[in-house]
């Protein structure tokens, strides 16, 4: 009996040793992972399925990336005004442009369909969405806004994507990037840090938590983790308990 256990123990020690040692190797240590990654809300690139969407001022360009070593230009769409951010969810693409938020149906990348434009005065701000709600921050300091004093978070009903409707607006001080999970929206509010709202009732957002002391400009929300980039560093938090957000680490700039 003992004779069987000893080699097993040795084997397991070797195995543990291996996984620990290969720190810089994709094979065993850190992993790039299989599917596409996740961008912050200020992104001008987004991947949806086998397509890469990039924006360039007045154009949306679509590339087929089904072959990882070669991309093919599929189409280019002209949009009237300067585009600042792009976000995709399932078969929809949300564009934050100077003259509003555009929604496109991208189920067929060869035939992108314009669905609607939500006009909020002169915005080129980040947008994130789930199946029924879109969240946009409007910032008066934004470089593409000419004369609008609004600093706010808008919640928009997109259950009918052809007819987006404003549900509620919240005043903010200096809102920038934002992110969502299933029930919370996380808004970077400049030197006020991150404000966290429960949107269970989208017509009345409830501020339930936050992160202060960081001049925050963008977030990524992923599996109860919050990745925050601010003027002073990159910060990671665990928010399994939303009322008690735990700082995991930081890399200061």
């Amino acid at each position: 009996m003992k004779a069987i256990y000893i080699p097993l123990i040795i084997l397991s020690v070797i195995f543990i040793g291996c996984t620990k040692d290969s720190g810089s190797d994709i094979g065993g240590g850190p992993n790039v992972g299989g599917e596409s990654g996740k961008a912050g809300s200020m992104a001008k690139f987004t991947i949806s399925g086998d397509n890469l969407f990039i924006i360039n001022k007045h154009q949306l360009k679509v590339f087929d990336i089904s072959d990882p070593s070669q991309l093919n230009h599929t189409s280019t769409l002209e949009v009237n005004y300067g585009i600042e951010t792009v976000f995709s969810l399932n078969n929809h693409l949300f564009i934050g442009a100077e003259d509003g938020m555009y929604i496109y149906d991208i189920a067929d990348a060869n035939n992108i369909l314009y669905l609607s434009r939500y006009e909020h005065i002169q915005s080129c701000d980040p947008v994130v969405a789930n199946d029924t709600l879109a969240f946009i921050t409007l910032n008066s300091q934004s470089s593409c806004r000419w004369q609008n004093g609004a600093n706010q978070l808008d919640v928009i009903d997109i259950s009918n994507m052809v007819y987006p409707q404003l549900i509620s607006s919240l005043n903010m001080q200096n809102p920038k990037g934002l992110g969502i999970d299933s029930t919370h929206v996380f808004v970077c509010d400049g030197s006020n840090g991150v404000k966290i709202f429960d949107f269970s009732n989208p017509s009345y957002l409830q501020e339930i938590s936050g992160i202060s002391g960081i001049d925050a400009y963008d977030v990524i929300i992923n599996n109860k983790r919050l990745y925050l980039i601010g003027e002073t560093g990159l910060f990671q938090y665990n928010f399994e308990n939303i009322h008690q957000i735990e700082l995991l680490s930081n890399i200061l700039f």
Binding site: P30, V32, A39, S69, S249, F253
Partner: protein
Amino acid sequence: MRQLLLAIAVFLLFFNGASVTKVDGLKPVYVSPEEAKIIKSLAPRDIENHGKIYIKGDYIFVGEKYQGVHIINNSDPRSPENIGFLQIYGNNDIAIKGQTLYADNLTDLVLIDISDIHHAVEIQRVENVYEAGNQNYPENQAYHTYFECVDPEKGVVVGWVREQLIDPKCFTTY
């Protein structure tokens, strides 16, 4: 008398010094047109002009505006480690699918194989996806910010650094 002369001398020295206009401004960073399109893995460096963030698998990528991306090994989120820098001049955005990183490199869109994160390899370049960016002045600065005039003979402008400029002839007018 001697004291008066000294005082005059000191005054002249001071006055003379003040007549050289040294102002806080921006100086272009040049690289050769060839270097501007070279994608390469470099040693980790400090994050200075931080841009956007992107997460993928065990990695966090932090943009260094117009220079490339910092690579953070985040396999232990309590102790992330800056492990390298990917040089991509003119870069603002990246996206990654599988082991392929897509990035803007000045006017081009490049595909970079990152299966070996320390030895990234360019695998495809699509030229002129973007209109040529502004090479003439620093963007998003306050009105009347001084900068050293751009000399295209010196190469491609891939960034701006803040410096004390002597009598600069150019300033922002937007």
